[in-house]
């Protein structure tokens, strides 16, 4: 059959191309543009090449923030994933109590990030906060605005409070999709509760757990609002994660060039880690199917 050449198809994708151009490509290219130039105001720019990138890669400030960021993401993943699974396993399976559970679990997810930060900021205050006051009355010294360790603990607990439900809901969906005969077969095979989890539930939840890990990793790696409201990155630089550092650089110091270079590297790091993560997942999946 003869293929007819028809360029009108471009017309059909044009709207989406325009939309994507205005929403992502053009803003992003502006950032790329800034990252290679220096400016002293009045909209006058000088070409500086890779200087900002080199300077940033040499700066201790960036590496410290990156280290804090990785540590933070690692800790919250180590807490939220197992805890989410545990919560999902102990949730009721059906009936009104299941619905109530689902609604209650979704509540933290619906609260604006800013408000989450404010809630914990007030909750933890040593003078008026319920948590802070109780702890200090018990004789435990706790002050997130002065002690770096306390600040970390608070930021982590806040994130766990905010986001464990997401993991739990995803895991719950995975659990609910397991057909009943699997459990019946396990009963017949006299499998212990642990074996049921290890050989039926965990393998069947793998897909959703991978998504949960990926989502939680990306999200925690970009965290900004809650620690900003709670500690503002302090005390000192203790909770200055990448985003907070970036905003300080871009808006606080108004260093557009370095901030643009920072943004792009930040973006590439997330892209790279997610890509590696995704590829590893897919490869494991394929290998197992082949065997």
């Amino acid at each position: 059959m003869e293929k007819t050449v028809n360029q009108r198809a471009w017309l059909l994708v044009l709207p989406v191309l325009v939309l994507v151009a205005f929403s992502s490509i053009i803003p992003m290219m502006t950032v790329v543009n800034y990252s290679f130039q220096d400016s002293f105001g009045e909209n006058i720019f000088f070409w500086v090449g890779l200087e900002w990138y080199q300077e940033l890669l040499r700066s201790e400030r960036l590496w410290d923030a990156l280290g804090r960021q990785l540590l933070f993401s690692f800790i919250i993943l180590m807490i939220e994933i197992p805890l989410g699974i545990l919560v999902a396993l102990s949730m009721p399976k059906k009936g009104i109590s299941a619905s109530i559970c689902l609604v209650l679990m979704s509540l933290p997810l619906l609260i604006p990030y800013n408000v989450v930060g404010t809630i914990w900021q007030v909750f933890g205050r040593a003078d008026i906060g319920l948590l802070g006051r109780t702890l200090s009355d018990l004789g435990i010294s706790y002050n997130y605005s002065q002690n770096a360790f306390d600040a970390w603990v608070t930021v982590i607990i806040m994130d766990v409070w905010h986001w464990t439900s997401l993991v739990a809901l995803l895991a719950y969906a995975g659990l609910r999709s397991i057909p009943k005969p699997y459990y019946q077969a396990a009963m017949i095979d006299q499998a212990s509760r642990w074996n049921v989890f290890r050989y039926i539930e965990l393998p069947k939840m793998r897909g959703v757990l991978m998504i949960a890990i990926l989502l939680r990793f990306m999200d925690s790696f970009m965290i900004y609002t809650e620690p900003f409201v709670l500690t503002g990155g302090g005390p000192g630089n203790a909770t200055t994660f990448l985003s907070i550092d970036l905003v300080k650089m871009a808006l606080g110091q108004f260093d557009l060039g370095p901030a643009a270079a920072f943004s792009l590297m930040y973006f590439l790091v997330i892209l790279l880690i997610s890509y590696v993560f995704y590829t590893v997942m897919i490869t494991i999946d394929k290998d197992e199917a082949k065997q």
Partner: protein, 366 residues
Amino acid sequence: MASITLENLAHSYLPDPGGDHDFALKEINHIWEDGRAYALLGPSGCGKTTLLNIISGLLTPTSGRVLFGDKDVTVSSTAERNIAQVFQFPVVYDTMTVRQNLAFPLRNRGMEADYVSERVEQIAQMIGLEADLHKKARGLTSDLKQKISLGRGMVRDDVNAILFDEPLTVIDPHLKWELRTQLKSLHREFGHTMIYVTHDQTEALTFAEKVVVMHEGRVVQIGTPKELFETPAHVFVGYFIGSPGMNFVPVSVTGNKAHINGNTIDLHHDYGNPQGDILLGIRPEFVRLSKSDGLPVQINRVQDVGRHKFINATLFDIEINISANEGFEIESDMIKIEFDPANIGIFRDNWRMNGKAIDQSNGGTV
């Protein structure tokens, strides 16, 4: 191994069952003899899976008892009953190899490693999985997965019975026959009691020595495939077994004569003077088209399916199916049908009547 006795067994999924219609499984008394192969046949939703789950202990019946041998196991757990069950969709432990899958029930029971590996090899050989023992279970085709399921049941040497819940649903048609044959030879060789649930009559009739037909939560007939075909005890069995199913014609009966629209049909048995809803049942195989004798019909269509011809006709507003052999020539002036009197059944209120045999010399075709 032991026989399985169901005593006044009934089950309802409602917490507080009232009338008969609340019961998914109506009262049943039955003994599954040791070492026999049974099929539990019926349409979807007739209660066969409920019955199977009660036997395996996945469900506790609302009333009645289940006995294995002399032992009451009504409230015993599945594991205590030593039952194996193969489900509709293959259940395998995805992350394990075939070998680990087969060993799983034994390892859970704390058997010694030597015994486990010996037994696994033995079972793998029996069901033809030796070559796949090292493979991961999740990559296998459904028929092999179903074999693993079966193997996990058979690997325990003290298994009381193996239950099958429509095990061939997801298997490719050309493998169904093969698997069923294999199952049958396994049964002959090792003599496990097998109960096979299906809604496919071919599966049931080829697999089982005895077929239990269920309808709306009730067992309507238990019999050999031959009995189900020749003397269905209930109108439903007539419909359900055979393809096409039995023809039913409303008639009135006095003695050994059936009457329909002023015509008389001679019967081989004397049924007295039955009241109620009386149906005459005859299989398509025992209806013959003829030119001159019998009841007047109007022929609607003829289907040639190779070895048979199926003829669809109308007899006094009732649809009648006729099955004729390949060589039978249908002519345009064949406008009557005859029933083979030896194979006519009379049903009152859906249940088959047992007539008194009469002297054959008085009988004859219509």
